[in-house]
C-alpha cells in the first residue's frame, strides 16, 4: 500500500505535486468553463452568420499564406544559424528572436513605422506601385509573418542542430554539394522538427490579434480575422463571442491533432 514500496525513490514530494496540479487546473478550467457555458442549442445559428464565415476563412487563409512565407524565408535562415560559422551569429539570432518577446501591439506599431503609408519602406512602395500594406489582407499576412517567423526559425534551427552534422560530412565525401546535402539529407532528417515549427507558426498566426488590429484595423472580409471578430462581438454579444471562441478552439486542436498523426511521429516510422 505504501508508495515507498512501489517507488524505490520514495513518493513524489507535495512541494512539486501541489503546484503541478494547480498548473493543470489553471490551463484546463478556463477552456472547460467555456465549453460548459456555451449555448449549445443556439450554436448552429450563431455559426451560420456571414461575419463568422468570412472571418474564419480569412484567418485560415492568412495564417496558411503566412506559414508558407515562414517556410520559404525561415528554413534558409534557420540553416544559416545552425550550420554556418560567422562573426555576429549570436547577435543575429538575438535580433531574429526579438519579435518573439515583443508585445504584439508594439509589433503593430513597428510595422506601421516601416510599412505604413508614410513609413520608411511603405511610402516609396506606395509611390512606386500604388500598393500599401496597411488595412489590406496582405497587411494581415505581413503582421502574421512578422510575429510567427521567429517561432518558425528558432524551432527549425533546433531541428537542424539536432540532426547530426556528421551526416552532412558523409554526404560531402559522397560528392554532394551543400545544396544537395541540404535537400536530400539535412531537411529530411529535420522534417519532424520542421513540421512542428510550422504548426507552431500557424497556430501563432491564427491567434494573432494585437499586431494585426494595430497595423490593419478591423474591416470585415479584408482584415477582420477571428480574434478581431471575437473582440468586437464580445462588446455587444457575450454568447456569440463564446460560440466564436469555441470554433477557434476546435479548429486549433483539430489541426494540431491532424498534423500530429501525420507529421510528428518518429522519423523511422514514416514511409
Amino acid at each position: 500500500m505504501s508508495t515507498s514500496l512501489k517507488d524505490p525513490l520514495g513518493g513524489p514530494p507535495a512541494l512539486l505535486m501541489v503546484p503541478a496540479v494547480v498548473a493543470v487546473l489553471l490551463l484546463v478550467v478556463p477552456l472547460a468553463a467555456m465549453v460548459a457555458a456555451t449555448d449549445w442549442p443556439g450554436l448552429p445559428a450563431q455559426l451560420r452568420t456571414e461575419p463568422l464565415r468570412e472571418a474564419l476563412w480569412l484567418s485560415i487563409l492568412t495564417s496558411t499564406i503566412a506559414v508558407a512565407f515562414c517556410l520559404v524565408l525561415g528554413l534558409p535562415l534557420a540553416w544559416v544559424l545552425a550550420r554556418l560559422e560567422f562573426r555576429g551569429r549570436t547577435l543575429l539570432r538575438a535580433l531574429v528572436t526579438v519579435p518573439l518577446v515583443l508585445p504584439p501591439v508594439v509589433a503593430g506599431v513597428a510595422l506601421r513605422t516601416a510599412f505604413g503609408r508614410t513609413g520608411v519602406l511603405g511610402e516609396p512602395l506606395l509611390d512606386l506601385t500604388g500598393f500599401g500594406f496597411p488595412f489590406t489582407t496582405w497587411g494581415v499576412v505581413l503582421a502574421h509573418v512578422f510575429v510567427s517567423l521567429p517561432f518558425v526559425v528558432i524551432s527549425i534551427e533546433g531541428a537542424f542542430r539536432s540532426a547530426d552534422p556528421e551526416y552532412d560530412v558523409a554526404a560531402a565525401t559522397l560528392g554532394a554539394t551543400r545544396w544537395t546535402t541540404f535537400r536530400r539529407v539535412t531537411v529530411p532528417l529535420a522534417l519532424p522538427g520542421i513540421a512542428a515549427g510550422l504548426v507552431l507558426g500557424w497556430a501563432r498566426s491564427l491567434g494573432e490579434f494585437g499586431a494585426t488590429i494595430t497595423f490593419n484595423g478591423n474591416y470585415p472580409g479584408v482584415t477582420q480575422t477571428m480574434p478581431n471578430l471575437i473582440y468586437v462581438t464580445r462588446q455587444s454579444d457575450e454568447d456569440a463571442a463564446l460560440a466564436l471562441s469555441l470554433v477557434m478552439l476546435i479548429v486549433s486542436v483539430g489541426v494540431l491533432l491532424a498534423l500530429r498523426d501525420r507529421w510528428l511521429g518518429t522519423p523511422g516510422a514514416r514511409t
Binding site: D164, E166, Y167, V169, A170, A171, A172, T173, L174, G175, A176, T177, T180, R184, V185, P188, L189, L191, P267, G268, R270
Partner: protein, 329 residues
Amino acid sequence: MTGLEVDLTVPGRVTAAFTAEPGSVLAIIGPNGAGKSTLVRALAGLLPAEGRAVVGGTDLLSIPARERQVGMVFQGQLLFPHLSAVDNVAFGPRSRGVPRADADRAAQAWLDRLGIGELAARRPQQLSGGQAQRVAIARALVSEPRLLLLDEPFTGLDVKVAMALRIELGRHLAAYDGVTLLVTHHALDALTIADHVLVLDEGEVAQIGTPSEVSQRPRTEHVARLVGLNVVREERTLTAFTPEAVAVSLDEPVGSPRLRWRGAVVDVSPHGDAVRVLVHATPDLIADVTPAAATELGLVPGREVWLSVKETAVRRYAIDPDPPGTVAP
C-alpha cells in the same frame, strides 16, 4: 589506378609522409589521440591540411572534399537513417550526376556483391551492425573512388561479426585497385588485412613497414605494446621478446645474468587463457603467466617481482638508420 603519395601536416595534430602502392592496404595503427582519424579526415577533405596528397597526378589537398572522389567508411557508419540501403549506396553516384536508374542499378549490384541484395529496401535501423557495415562499404566503393578510407570499420561490432567481416573485407579490398587506408586500434586488422602498417604516435609516424616487420621488430615501446611485444633498447640495438617468454619469480633468478629486471606489478588482467602482468621496471614490461602461477606468486599490483627471459627467446636488431616514412617493397 595509381599509388598514393602523402606528405601532409594538420597543424598541431598530425604530420605524416608516406607512399602506398596501387592496390595495397595500409593499416594506420596507434594509441588513442595519435592522430589516426585526423590523418584520414584530412585526406577526405574534412579538415584543413598543409602539404600534398597525390593520387594519379591529382593533389587531393588542392580540391574540396566533394570533388576528391574518396570513398570513406566512418566510425559508426553514418548511413542516412531516412534512406533505404539501396538509396544510401546510390546517394554518391546520384550526387555526382548519374541518372537515377543507373545509380540504383549500380547500388543494387554492390549490395548483391556484398551478399545483402535482398535487404536493399530496408532502412539502416532495420539492419544488424554487420549488415549496416556492408552497406557502408558498398556506399564507399560504388563510385570507384581514387582512394578508400576506412575509419575504425569494425568498432562496435560483435566480435564474431567483426571477424567474418574482416575476412570478407579483405577479399573485396583485394579486388579494389586503388589504395586503401585502414584506421584501426586492433593489431589483428593490421595483421590480417594490411600489406603495410603505419604506426602513428603523438601525431608522428613512429614506424612503417610490413605487418611482420612491425610485429616482429617494433621500433618503439609504443609500437611494441600495440603489437603485444616487449622491446628493450640498448644503445643502437633493440631486443624484442614475447610476453610468453618472460619468466616471473619472487627470488632473483639464477643464470642468464643480462636479461633480468626487478620491478613492481602495476596491472594484472586476463589475456586469453593466460594472465597478463604489467611490471613497472626499466622499461615497463609485460609477462604472460598461467592463472595458477599468478595465484601461487600472489601477483597483485604493488608486488615486487623479478622478470627474466632466456637468451634464445629474444630477437635483436639494429635501430634502422633510415627515417620512417618510406614503404619498403
